[in-house]
């Protein structure tokens, strides 16, 4: 606050008065003292008068430092601050071991199945990026690289990039988020193998208006048309399409039901005149008591897939399904079972069957050990029985839990 001109004039005026009176004639000490006292009194009075005409100070003027009094901070942040914008890193290891015999799905006794490096960051106010690089037995591949626009006008959200297609439930999942050490037979037989439908494309989703507390979401995806073992684009315009309709309803606070319908169509390895069409239906029933969620839960998931593959000798129609049950017994143990049955896409009439029993030990949220006994009856009388072990671990960023 600057002193007003009136105050300055008053102070200067009184100072001048003092100066003017100082060269007074000499007097005895006691008298001099009296004169001085009088002067002091006069000065004090003037001071009081000046204080009175000054504007009243605001409440608690000295409680907080005024902004212009805070010390100037020189230089920017140092150290790790510059790295704050680096993407979140996570690394997931998936080691496996197997004993027993499987003549069709042959895997080594010990295997570094996959090490997945995940990089995630918000790109700008409109989008976020998620890239997952898988280092496995086939070298390095981009498992997913997605630019997500979570909030487009009109309630749409979009994804662009290499991604797992929204076909059913299990196809969208990375290996380490599955409750099994493998993928169901129907994925292997009808969806092109372990990778499933995975391709470069564009995906648009929107929550649909629905009555009550029903959740409905539609997703439409267009892909380049190349998905290993399933779709082959021999021309630029051989795009593949995937559509998914998802319905979800909370039956009670602890129980919910999710159903989905899926559709996929693309050209197959015989060329542009031959297509493969897949239709799918899935249903998941979940029970998880909210107050005991870390100790106990039950999940029952079923998926059916119908495949129509146009081949030289006509259209081969096959179907397959799996039914999987997972039960969490306590904080550390989950048990499960799965039944598999699937025809073969290119050999209509041949049907493989199998079942699995599973147990997972959760050392913490960040590492698990899983055992699976898998028994398979392949078409043509081949029999397989294998005990499989999987060790999973997560390093780095705490990823979201899949639902």
């Amino acid at each position: 606050m600057k002193p007003s001109p009136t105050i300055l004039t008053a102070i200067l005026g009184s100072a001048a008065t003092v100066c003017a009176q100082s060269p007074a004639p000499p007097a005895p000490a006691a008298e001099q003292l009296k004169v001085l006292e009088a002067r002091i009194r006069k000065l004090e009075e003037e001071l009081q008068a000046l204080k009175a005409i000054r504007p009243a100070p605001s409440a608690e003027p000295d409680q907080q430092p005024r902004p212009d009094e805070t010390p100037v901070r020189l230089g920017g942040a140092g150290g790790a601050a510059g790295k704050a914008l680096n993407p979140d890193l996570s690394l997931i290891g998936d080691f496996r071991a197997a004993v027993g015999h499987d003549p069709v799905r042959q895997e080594p006794g010990l295997e570094n199945h996959e090490v997945e490096l995940g990089l995630s960051a918000v790109v700008d106010p409109y989008s976020r990026g998620d890239v997952f690089l898988a280092f496995g037995k086939d070298g390095v591949e981009v498992e997913e690289a997605i630019l997500t626009f979570p909030a487009l006008p009109g309630g749409f959200s979009a994804k662009v990039g290499k991604m797992r297609a929204e076909f059913g439930k299990v196809n969208t999942r990375h290996n380490h988020t599955l409750p099994w050490t493998d993928r169901p037979l129907v994925t292997e037989n009808l969806l092109g193998g372990e990778e499933g439908i995975s391709d470069m494309g564009v995906s648009v989703s929107r929550i649909l208006p629905a009555p009550g507390n029903l959740f409905l979401e539609a997703t439409v995806q267009v892909f380049r048309g190349n998905s290993e073992g399933l779709f082959t684009a021999t021309r630029k315009k051989d795009l593949s399409q995937v559509g998914h309709l998802r319905g979800y309803h909370d039956l009670t606070e602890n129980t919910n039901l999710e159903v989905g319908l899926s559709y996929a169509r693309g050209h197959n390895e015989l060329g542009s005149d031959f297509t493969t069409t897949l239709r799918g239906a899935d249903a998941t029933l979940r029970w998880k008591p909210l107050q005991r969620s870390i100790y106990s839960s039950l999940l029952w998931r079923n998926e059916l897939v119908w495949s129509q593959r146009e081949l030289l000798d006509g259209t081969h129609a096959s179907k397959g399904f799996y039914s999987s049950l997972e039960y969490r017994l306590n904080q550390r143990w989950t048990f499960g079972a799965r039944y598999d049955r699937s025809g073969r896409a290119a050999e209509a009439g041949l049907v493989d069957r199998g079942w699995s029993a599973l147990g997972t030990y959760w050392m913490s949220e960040f590492s698990q050990l899983r055992g699976q006994y898998r028994s398979t009856w392949y078409a043509g009388g081949q029999r397989a029985g294998e005990f499989r072990l999987q060790l999973l671990f997560v390093m780095g960023a705490h990823g979201a839990h899949p639902f």
Partner: protein, 316 residues
Amino acid sequence: MAIGVVRGWTGRALALATALFLGTSPSALHAGGKLNVVATTSDLAALAIEVGGDKVGVSAIARGYQDPHFVEAKPSFLLNLRRADLVVAVGLELEAGWLPPLLNQCGNPKVQPASQGYFDASQSAEILEIPAGPVSRAMGDVHPMGNPHYWLDPANGLRIATGLAQRLAQLSPGDAAYFQARLEDFRKRLGEAERRWDERMKPYRGRKVITYHRSWPNFAKRFGLQVVDFVEPRPGIPPSPGHLVALMARMKRENIKAILVEPYFDLKTPQSVARETGGQVVVLMPSVGGNKDTGDYIRLFDYDVELVARALQTDK
């Protein structure tokens, strides 16, 4: 456009997308003039109600008796989130497992992090246990940004409410005076309640207690309790027999009688520890709405303070 022009699946996909677009718009702007607030926990919802009154419609994602670390990202939450004007989050990575996917899927640009419709309550609160040294998961499921259970100090409740009043006023400037008046009323009622709680807890200041999880540092600091050990050896890691033996020895040696547990943890282990040591298990409510006696923010502390005081009173 003639139907015949829409050919091939790409065309049909575009047609479907257009049809969806022409459907209802999700952002039915705060119906009835109310701001739609979605809080991640019932505590933040309760504070939003204290400040927002009948000018806001508030819903919470996690229930009061639910472990807020392990909420599932159920699609049904998206129905509220897509209509929200404001999302209030605890932050400090408490919701890391479920809020990011929900915000990614809800298709609502207003409530994305860093926008005006996203309020991280931890930014208004005093945060304890911010790690000063190296952090690794050898410490269990640690929160590198500090302890996220900070709402369990009434001073933080008031700070969060103050921050919320400001944010609500930015979103609905016409109601700024209303929010301010409600904040002042809350401040007054909370102040009176705090004097009551302080009086009740006064005889027990400095007493040692055990908690199951690291959920109570703010509560303990506020009411002068010393949390000296935990049933979980490290956050998120189930108790091992060796740790429990050491814990029981310590409780006997230091004459510690109270084990504070949230209702979502297994009671068997703490109960057997209590039996061995002559102590008792106190099931505190960590969040509003955990039971019928904890219907709002002040009643939550009424309930917890009374339970703690009674437990420490009997084991004198």
